[in-house]
């Protein structure tokens, strides 16, 4: 099956710092989502970005589908940004019954200190 690798596995920042999280995937995809899992376990949708660049406030994301990677940028980090960030992809051209599922990476654990 498709492999999804996220880096770094852990990241510790001081409040106000910038960071870049990376997601590499092993096959062509037609859906890529970034999530933030807060300390209560809720997965919060950050971006739906199968290709291109999007920005939402201090967060932005870029997916280069032809090179099979995506980047999540966090600028001016805040303590509330702490949590686990997941990248999840859906395999392109998957036939039959495997069509809808997302395959997740292992996540990046972000800790922002005040």
């Amino acid at each position: 099956g498709i492999q999804v690798e996220q880096s770094p596995p852990d990241l510790i920042l001081q409040e106000g710092a910038n960071s870049t999280l990376r997601c590499n995937f092993s096959d062509s995809v037609n859906n890529l989502q970034w999530f933030h899992q807060n300390p209560w376990g809720q997965l919060i949708n950050l971006f739906y970005i199968p290709s291109g660049t999007k920005q939402n406030g201090r967060l932005s994301a870029t997916t280069v589908a032809t090179e099979r990677y995506s980047l999540l940028y966090i600028s001016s980090s805040q303590t509330t940004d702490s949590g686990v960030y997941f990248c999840a992809v859906q395999l392109a051209n998957a036939g039959g019954t495997s069509y809808g599922k997302l395959t997740f990476g292992q996540g990046t654990i972000l800790t922002v200190h005040p």
């Binding site: 999530f35 809720q42 949708n45 199968p50 069509y99 809808g100 599922k101 997302l102 997740f104 292992q106």
Partner: protein, 116 residues
């Protein structure tokens, strides 16, 4: 509008008991997914429904796991004769996706199952 809801939020079961976990998707969403998240891991796919049809159950770990969505809205994930390895967070997601158009998935808060 309301997001995906799940109940109960927490469930403690003795080994061997049966449990039922409920998911209420976003109103009108065609597609519904169940995922299992072990501690420290990313969620893993269990099963997928399009309306009431279960189109993919390739991720269900054993025949003790059963899911249904009889009227194409609410879904129930049932685990029979629970084992300790079933302890995990069970996440439900829905999307307005049809058969040929891909939409993003929205997740519920999850049910944390602990088997003692």
């Amino acid at each position: 509008g309301a997001g995906v809801s799940q109940s109960p939020r927490y469930k403690v079961a003795k080994r061997g008991q049966d449990v039922a976990l409920r998911c209420d998707p976003i109103s009108g969403h065609v597609s519904l997914f169940w995922y299992q998240q072990a501690l420290g891991q990313g969620p893993e796919f269990l099963t997928y429904f399009q309306n009431e049809a279960q189109l993919d159950k390739s991720g269900l770990p054993s025949d003790r796991f059963f899911a249904e969505r009889p009227e194409g809205s609410v879904s129930t994930l049932k685990i029979q004769r629970t084992q300790q390895e079933d302890s995990a967070v069970y996440l439900c997601a829905s999307s307005p996706r049809g058969r040929t158009i891909i939409y993003e998935q929205y997740f519920g808060p999850g049910t944390r199952l602990t088997v003692t």
